[in-house]
């Protein structure tokens, strides 16, 4: 393979890589702006109907230090690794101990304190609150650790495609097939 052919192939590879890299960079930019590790989520269940339906895309914002009762938030727990969209029904602020660190010449340990907000949530369309969904022996969500962000806007129905892709395997192959066909017919 001569250098000219190598350059042509590198160029073709670059065009494809730039598309993927740009999409990922835009996602990371949104994450940094909203300070949320997932600035867009898809509503997966009907627990917030009639406000949000399955397939709606939610736009999140995570820069608020404390959230209010009535805010719609998205959270994840280690019990179920899917984002849950519910409303805050109760909250309070407590003083937590930060991890101990050694300070000064005496090397004595100082337990620093920080204020943290604890939150209880409930889906509008559910009978009871979310206590059964939380981890064992945990009665509240921690605002810093568990919350992905509060909902600031939404785009209806557009996210239903992602639900179909994860739940319906034929749809996944159909989408991949369509993408391959469009790449074949795109000469420019």
């Amino acid at each position: 393979m001569n250098l000219k052919t190598l350059r042509i192939q590198l160029n073709q590879g670059l065009v494809m890589s730039m598309v993927l890299a740009s999409a990922f960079a835009v996602w990371k930019l949104m994450s940094v702006i909203t300070m949320s590790n997932s600035p867009l989520v898809v509503v997966l269940s009907g627990s917030m109907e009639p406000a949000f339906q399955r397939g709606d895309i939610l736009l999140l914002w995570n820069r608020e230090k404390y959230l209010n009762v009535g805010d719609i938030i998205v959270y994840k727990t280690s019990v179920r690794d899917v984002p849950i969209v519910h409303r805050i029904v109760r909250e309070h602020v407590i003083e937590d101990d930060l991890p101990k660190r050694k300070t000064g010449k005496n090397k004595s340990t100082v337990a620093a304190k920080r204020k943290s907000q604890k939150i209880l949530t409930k889906g509008d369309n559910n009978q009871g609150d979310d206590l059964p969904l939380y981890e064992y022996n945990v009665n509240y969500l921690d605002r810093q650790k568990d919350i992905l962000g509060s909902v600031k806007g939404y785009i209806p129905k557009v996210g239903y495609v992602t639900i179909l892709i994860t739940e319906n395997k034929y749809f996944k192959y159909a989408i991949v097939g369509l993408l391959a066909l469009s790449a074949l017919f795109n000469q420019e």
């Binding site: 670059l14 730039m18 890299a21 990922f24 960079a25 990371k28 930019l29 940094v32 810093q144």
Partner: protein, 188 residues
């Protein structure tokens, strides 16, 4: 008899390796095929292709891709935890660098590379050849030759360059280019 059969096959295969069948109904495909053979034709007048423009663009582009890779790496390393200030700092840095470089890539494409398809040198002389189409429905190949500042514009219908089977007539194509370049060299 066997010798002539061998040479016939060699000749046909050599031609096929040089040119490929092109869709005569696509002006874009015709232009791309001509662009690919510019270096072959211009080497007949002694111009050796210089890849500095292409290489610079490849370096900038792949740097962007590497930055996206770094974003992915820190995401995996810090488990996408936006409570970690180091992770936030690295992500912000890589995102900013990515978009700055992508903007540079875009500016380079638009203002430096433009529609230049070939850059060649002969001694101290530098020849730049750009090509474009006026529209996708107009099967005319527009060329602009820039030899050390002396600019010459030419146009040729694709019907003169391609056979009815869809192959580029390399002899006609290279003769046209050689004549134009000789004319410009005489004018300097």
């Amino acid at each position: 008899m066997e010798h002539s059969y061998f040479f016939y096959h060699y000749f046909v295969n050599f031609q096929k390796a040089m040119v490929k069948k092109v869709n005569l109904n696509s002006a874009v495909a015709l232009r791309n095929e001509c662009d690919e053979h510019l270096s072959g034709a211009l080497s007949k007048v002694g111009y050796e292709q210089s890849f500095s423009l292409v290489d610079t663009k490849l370096v900038i582009g792949y740097s962007c891709v590497i930055l996206a890779g770094l974003m992915y790496y820190v995401e995996k390393k810090y488990k996408n935890d936006f409570n970690n200030p180091d992770y936030v700092m690295y992500t912000e840095l890589f995102v900013v660098l990515f978009f700055v470089l992508e903007f540079v890539w875009y500016l380079f494409s638009k203002f430096v590379e433009k529609s230049i398809k070939f850059v060649g040198t002969k001694g101290h002389k530098t020849l730049k050849v750009s090509s474009h189409l006026k529209s996708k429905e107009d099967p005319v190949y527009y060329l602009e030759f820039d030899l050390d500042g002396t600019v010459d514009e030419e146009q040729v219908e694709f019907t003169r360059l391609f056979t009815a089977d869809g192959f580029l007539d390399f002899a006609v194509f290279s003769k046209l280019l050689v004549d134009v370049v000789n004319k410009i060299e005489k004018d300097i």
